[in-house]
């Protein structure tokens, strides 16, 4: 009975390679979203995601210990344990879900988790907004 919400457009936030191969996304605010969401809010979301990905790929004592332990157990340890990267990816998924619920869905937008696009882009789906006539 209810009409399906139409996808008006999709915006793709590309990767930012200025720091090398680390997973970072461009924080430049796309023009298509100007009428839908505040620049600050969007940049805040992307910046938090960038920080989370940096945390996943961080080279620190924790990752080294994990790597050495894994090597010693012939990588069988990952049958029972999650890698640090996977743990952070779960955190990211939760964060995106939270952002969608609180901020983006009420504005007719939807963020797609970059892992579903091979960590190439953050896909922002813009839904047709018919409520502007109110």
């Amino acid at each position: 009975m209810r009409q399906q919400t139409a996808i008006a457009a999709k915006v793709f936030i590309q990767r930012d390679y200025t720091n090398g191969t680390v997973c970072q996304f461009q924080t430049k605010f796309p023009s298509e979203l100007e009428t839908r969401i505040e620049k600050q809010q969007f940049e805040e979301t992307v910046r938090t995601l960038n920080n989370l990905y940096a945390e996943a790929e961080k080279l620190g004592s924790q990752s080294y210990i994990e790597g050495c332990l894994a090597c010693l157990t012939a990588y069988t340890i990952f049958l029972c344990m999650e890698t640090h990267y996977e743990k952070v990816l779960k955190k990211i998924a939760k964060y995106i879900q939270e952002q969608n619920d609180k901020i983006y869905a009420p504005r007719g937008l939807l963020l797609t988790d970059p892992i579903e696009r091979g960590l190439r882009v953050i896909e922002v789906t813009i839904f047709e907004d018919r409520s502007l006539t109110r």
Binding site: R2, A6, I7, S31, T35, G67
Partner: protein, 423 residues
């Protein structure tokens, strides 16, 4: 207005959106009930075994040869040489040999069977978006434009990112397209026929461990087989020793020829790891000082220790292609992708639950409907063409060709992102 929206949201009792569910971007299937896994429609030339758990290149003949050589040589060593050596010298010899052998086998299988870091191909939406951007930059022409590149400055070095026509993406730095496997691979090192797979970001450390441990194993077997023959010669004479243990001759020959190549390769890769380069970059001389005085490797961490640690003990990224996830088969209303490429999404979760995904996407749509559409709305069944609609006040620049066909009002042609079911 905002209050009204949130009230209707609460009334509708929407369930938690799982953003980890895959959006259905795959090729449509006729039957609703067919549950094909994503590896079955993988666009590259890789082969999959064990229902998507194992991923290898197409030609695996040389890999079988590697396996046979290792198994036969080690088998002969344990059967013919070890009993003598264990008695004459110490039982530590077969034990250490056994551990080395198992380690070699484990790392070989891990290198050969895992995803080297394949980049999934672009979805049609992404590809269209990139094409549009490039056309705007170039001025669109009728024929295939010249190779597209983007320049990026990484740590002071200018790096060219090339556009991959097969995968329809701009390759990340250090990625390369393997023509044998027909995939773009992250941090592409080389395609190794001996392991039957590409060596890339996700399996480089296993490859290195493999060749390192194989060097040790080869030297170990070589040394102890020689020791065995010498010890026997002391007793019975050289010729008799060879007659008593003919397998040793074969082992010595195999090991002698392997040692040079394997140890050499280990040394080469040790150098690559310590300078944080890939075989690809080294062969092309990308960071060689011969190219220019200011040419240096922007990816190196500066010291050998950090480079080694990051290559061998750094975090292991997960596979970006979801081999064992299920393709959304609920695509009866789908229009086929216009570019004919089989698309697949990539999810983190290895166990995609079809019902949950349907529910999640349904609820997402529901929420968005509640948020964006008035409660009382007339249903339109004719095609809605999205140009710059008066409601949006021209907020869709450049998007003049999105057409929503017939009853499937949420299915733009060429964009296979359908809802799983109509309400």
């Amino acid at each position: 207005m905002h209050l009204g929206v949130s009230e209707s949201m609460r009334e509708c009792e929407y369930s938690q959106i799982s953003t980890r569910s895959s959006t259905p971007m795959e090729t449509p299937y006729k039957k609703r009930t067919s549950r094909k896994r994503k590896w079955e429609s993988f666009p590259g030339r890789s082969k999959f075994y064990c229902d998507g758990r194992i991923m290898m290149a197409r030609q695996t003949g040389v890999f079988c040869l590697t396996l046979v050589l290792i198994l036969v040589t080690s088998g002969l060593f344990f059967t013919f040489d070890c009993p003598f050596l264990a008695l004459q010298l110490t039982t530590a010899i077969p034990v250490i040999g056994g551990v080395l052998f198992l380690f070699v086998l484990g790392t070989l299988l891990r290198t050969s069977f895992s995803d080297p870091g394949v980049l999934p191909r672009a979805t049609p939406d992404e590809a269209a978006d990139l094409e549009r951007q490039i056309d705007v930059a170039n001025g669109s022409t009728g024929y295939r434009p010249p190779p597209r590149t983007k320049e990026v400055v990484i740590n002071g070095q200018t790096v060219k990112l090339k556009y991959c026509f097969t995968c329809k993406i701009f390759r990340p730095p250090r990625a390369s397209h393997c023509s044998l496997c027909d995939n773009c691979v992250e941090r592409f090192d080389h395609h190794c026929p001996w392991v039957g797979n590409c060596v890339g970001r996700r399996n480089y450390r296993f490859f290195y461990m493999f060749i390192l441990s194989l060097s040790f194993l080869t030297i170990f077997i070589f040394a102890f087989v020689i020791t065995h023959i010498i010890l026997r010669s002391h007793r019975n004479g050289f010729l008799n020793a060879l007659k008593d243990s003919p397998a040793s001759v074969l082992e010595v020959v195999v090991c002698f020829f392997s040692v040079w190549s394997i140890v050499g390769l280990s040394g080469f890769h040790t150098y690559l790891i310590s300078s944080n380069q890939t075989t690809n970059e080294d062969i092309k001389g990308s960071w060689s000082s011969k190219r220019g005085k200011d040419n240096y490797n922007p990816y190196s961490h500066g010291n050998i220790f950090t480079n080694c640690c990051s290559a061998l003990c750094g975090p292991l990224p997960p596979s970006l292609i979801d081999r064992r996830g299920f393709i959304q088969s609920d695509t009866l209303q789908l229009a086929p992708p216009t570019n004919g490429i089989t698309m697949y999404g990539a999810t983190q979760s290895q166990q995609s639950h079809m019902c949950d995904q349907d529910q999640c996407i349904q609820s997402t749509k529901f929420v968005l409907q509640a948020a964006t559409t008035p409660l009382l709305q007339q249903q339109t069944s004719e095609p809605v063409i999205l140009t710059t609609s008066p409601e949006n006040g021209g907020s869709l620049p450049g998007r003049t060709s999105l057409t929503l066909a017939g009853p499937c009002t949420s299915l733009p042609l060429g964009q296979p992102t359908p809802p799983p079911s109509t309400s």
